[in-house]
């Protein structure tokens, strides 16, 4: 993918990535954390949200509305590529804190589905099963895997 995105910083173990969203609401620290959740097949959970400067905790309930959603989502996608290059092309599971937040992630994928499909297999879960991602459907959860 060759989309606009923010520079990010990877933690020592390459499981954590941080970057700053910049827009009308200011400079907001974003963190992406990968945690292994399955061994067979290997899968990691992607946790993503704003990092509170005071507590250091992540929050994905806040709606930042910094007018840079596509850049932020492209940056998260870039961390998936970096993570996969280091640890292998495994499943990455992602879901929002709410259905509407999952829908937001889904809209970001839908906007760039053609580019994303060059690099990733993308699946959505609905109606009791996993399906190849389609822009017209709503999903409860998402799985991506770099090709």
């Amino acid at each position: 993918m060759n989309l606009d995105r923010y520079n990010y910083v990877a933690g020592n173990n390459y499981h954590n990535y941080t970057f700053y969203s910049e827009g009308p609401k200011g400079r907001i620290k974003k963190t992406v954390i990968y945690t292994r959740i399955s061994d067979d097949p290997v899968a990691y959970n992607l946790a993503f949200g704003d990092e509170d400067d005071k507590t250091g905790f992540i929050n994905d309930i806040i709606t930042t509305d910094n007018k840079d959603r596509d850049i932020v989502l492209a940056t998260v996608a870039a961390t998936i590529i970096a993570f996969s290059e280091r640890f292998g092309n495994h499943y990455i599971y992602a879901t929002g804190n709410t259905l509407s937040r999952t829908r937001l992630y889904q809209m970001g994928i839908a906007n760039f589905l053609k580019e994303i499909k060059n690099d990733f297999e993308v699946y959505g879960y609905n109606n009791g099963g996993w399906h190849e991602f389609a822009t017209s459907a709503n999903y409860e959860a998402l799985l991506v895997k770099r090709k």
Binding site: N7, V9, A10, G11, N16, S38, A43, A82
Partner: protein, 59 residues
């Protein structure tokens, strides 16, 4: 006296990223713990693409 150029203690990594030598541990972050527990439960219940569900839920 020659000038000394100081550089940040950072190692280039992949793409536009750099590795940070000061790392925050998020393993006990309540948000991360909750998300991981939910993800494990979801996948144990629903499996992965192309797999049969781990157990029959139709009963």
């Amino acid at each position: 006296m020659p000038a000394i150029k100081k550089e940040r203690n950072a190692v280039p990594a992949y793409g536009k990223s750099i590795a940070n030598n000061i790392e925050k541990d998020h393993s006990n972050d309540p948000f991360v713990v909750k998300k991981v527990e939910e993800a494990r439960a979801f996948l144990q219940k629903n499996g992965f693409p192309g797999q049969a569900k781990p157990y029959n839920q139709s009963a």
